[in-house]
């Protein structure tokens, strides 16, 4: 689904990502760990193609297409979706309108989707205007639910979300990624749908790892100072980080 090869990225002439290699196969969810300032968000912004992140080496391939220099909206239309940590406010644009724009030609029931993320009362409010941290997260999810991307990039989905809503958020992420296990009863007829091959992929950025209590992951990686330095089971990595901190985790990878 996504393949990153020897990617080097600079911001204003300063190297912030150095020779990153990463592959997220179709249907897999990968977790990207890393301390603050390690370059996690920059990697996500580069995959999406935001201005200010200059690729000076390597390439990004999505669904077999080289997207390294593709405009942002073409990447979105090709199937990449992002949930931002601190999205801008857009005055005068109603959340409902934006969700409609996200869906493009697809038929979506905006009201029902909004109910699912507890945002029914927010549809007539300006996008992100005076939203709390948790409301921003749910609004981002609502937009992604309408957009239905094949690869989802989530930047710290759990930060600023209260306990009650983090469960809800986990459910939403799982349903976006077709990882939901919420089903009244698996009957014989339905069983095959659950065994159907997953096609949605994700890269989830987390600093604390709390999100792993609510979603499942296929693999974890650690980004430190612009370098990817560990690839293994996500829960294992989290255990290490929780036990010994990032410093120790990195040292282990260096050995």
């Amino acid at each position: 689904m996504l393949k990153i090869e020897d990617l080097v990225v600079e911001i204003e002439g300063k190297k912030i990502l150095d020779r990153i290699n990463m592959e997220i196969p179709e249907g897999e969810t990968h977790i990207l760990f890393g301390p603050n300032g390690s370059g996690k968000t920059s990697l996500m912004m580069t995959i999406m193609g935001f201005s200010g992140y200059t690729v000076t080496g390597g390439r990004i391939v999505f669904k077999g297409e080289d997207i390294t220099y593709m405009p942002i909206h073409e990447r979105a239309r090709l199937g990449i979706g992002v949930s931002f940590q601190r999205p801008p406010t857009i005055a005068g644009l109603k959340t409902k309108e934006l969700v409609g724009l996200c869906s493009r030609e697809k038929e979506v029931d905006i009201e029902t989707l909004a109910d699912q993320v507890n945002l029914a009362g927010f549809l007539d409010r300006d996008v992100n205007l005076n939203f709390s941290g948790g409301e921003i997260k749910r609004s981002e999810m609502l937009q992604l639910m309408a957009q239905q991307p094949d690869l989802v990039l989530l930047d710290e989905p759990e930060s600023g979300v209260d306990l009650e809503n983090i469960v809800l958020l986990g459910d939403v992420v799982n349903s976006l990624l077709e990882r939901g296990i919420k089903c009244p009863r698996v009957t014989r007829e339905h069983a095959h749908t659950h065994l159907k091959k997953r096609t949605k992929s994700a890269l989830v950025i987390t600093h604390t790892g709390h999100i792993l209590d609510y979603i499942t992951a296929d693999q974890g990686q650690v980004l430190y100072d612009g370098h990817l330095c560990c690839v293994r089971n996500a829960r294992e990595i989290l255990k290490w980080i929780r036990e010994y901190g990032y410093e120790e985790c990195i040292r282990c990878a260096m050995v």
């Binding site: 999406m48 935001f50 909206h73 931002f84 857009i90 724009l101």
Partner: protein, 394 residues
């Protein structure tokens, strides 16, 4: 430069240079019979010739009143000349808060009057449908000098939609409009004015609004189409306890247009409140967005908000002014001038919108000031006009 304003793109019109011999137009009893071209122009500024869902209608073409009718109880609609003959007391309402010598334009309008409207809501009456009026310039290169009086009597409620436009073939002209509004105790007056002038039409409205205790004036002004020059800075006097004034304006200046638009509010009594909000976009033209509040007593409250976007060359000059004369006034302002935030554009692009779609979505949002009390059909009309305007600007 005068008063710090770059006037290099500006030329002040001379009233004596315009055609004075305006020919007269016949009165039209049934508006269904007017020229369809005219009717379309009127509709674009909110004036509906079907007169459905309207409490009263007034239409003045050049110097001639072509239609004046009230269809609902409790509202009076007359040409101002007729009203002055009908009511002896009305002359006391003329030139009460505006001096005829205020400036050359006001002076000219006082010397060469071409009628205008008189609209009055009777005491205690809440008029459920909007009242509409249209001031229409149909003769090329001529002047239209009107004097309007609006009285919202005690505890009444009224919404006036005024559309000003030129006939489609008219490119130049001068419109001078003297307007005096009286909002009596406990009354609420909504006034929505939409302008759509010709490319070289100069416009000089001069307005004074007097608001008594508990009275509310809500004034919305919308000018999205090209014009020559416009200068207006209505003065509102909040003259009774708890009086309220709210002004919203939406301005677009394309190449060659000069808009100097503001509002001045005197807060003379306790618990008076004022809000001035403007959204302005220049795409080649000049916009001077003014706002001035003068707080004279403790316990008055005001907020000014001027936001300007510069889409292409042009001048955006925001001039918010606050004057507090005593301790205990509470006034604030917020002004911002700039271009569209790149982060907003890229945020929308990440949702699949191309750059043009993203920019136009943001511009539409910027102009989308929630104007209270608009009939849904007019709100939809304005929304459509905003969409068309932003297409033209791109």
């Amino acid at each position: 430069m005068r008063n710090g304003i770059d006037r290099s793109r500006f030329r002040d019109p001379d009233p004596s240079k315009y055609n004075k011999s305006t020919k007269s137009h016949a009165y039209v009893e049934d508006l269904q019979l007017v020229d369809p071209g005219d009717a379309r122009r009127w509709l674009s500024v909110g004036v509906d010739t079907s007169e459905s869902n309207r409490a009263a209608t007034f239409i003045q073409k050049d110097a001639s009143v072509v239609h004046s009718r009230a269809s609902m109880e409790g509202v009076e609609m007359m040409p101002v000349t007729e009203a002055l003959e009908t009511y002896d007391w009305l002359k006391d309402y003329l030139w009460r808060h505006i001096s005829p010598e205020k400036d050359p334009f006001t002076e000219h309008a006082s010397q060469v009057p071409h009628n205008g409207y008189f609209i009055r809501s009777k005491p205690g009456v809440k008029i459920s449908q909007p009242v509409q009026s249209c001031l229409y310039l149909a003769e090329e290169g001529s002047t239209q000098n009107v004097h309007n009086i609006v009285i919202a009597e005690e505890d009444s409620e009224m919404h006036i939609i005024t559309g000003c436009a030129t006939s489609s073939h008219v490119t130049s002209g001068l419109h001078l409009g003297i307007s005096e509004f009286y909002v009596k105790k406990g009354a609420t007056l909504h006034f929505t004015m939409i302008h759509d002038w010709g490319e070289q039409v100069d416009v000089r409205p001069r307005t004074a609004i007097h608001v008594e205790a508990g009275g509310v004036i809500v004034s919305n002004y919308i000018s999205l189409r090209p014009l020559g020059s416009l200068e207006m800075n209505p003065t509102t006097i909040l003259d009774g306890k708890g009086a309220v004034a709210r002004f919203n304006s939406i301005l677009v200046a394309t190449h060659g247009s000069w808009l100097d638009v503001g509002s001045r509010v005197f807060l003379n009594e306790p618990d008076t409140r004022a809000e001035i909000i403007s959204r302005a976009i220049t795409a080649g033209g000049t916009i001077i967005a003014r706002g001035e509040m003068i707080g004279k007593v403790a316990g008055c409250k005001g907020h000014l908000e001027c936001k300007g976007l510069i889409l292409s060359d042009g001048l955006m000059h925001a001039i918010p002014e606050l004057q507090g004369h005593v301790p205990g006034v509470d006034m604030s302002h917020e002004a911002a001038v700039g271009k569209i935030d790149q982060r907003e554009i890229e945020y929308l692009m990440a949702r699949g919108l191309d750059e043009d779609e993203a920019v136009s979505t943001i511009v539409r949002g910027f102009l989308n000031v929630n104007i209270e009390g608009l009939p849904p059909a007019l709100a939809a009309e304005i929304d459509k006009a905003v969409t068309e305007t932003q297409k033209d600007m791109m």
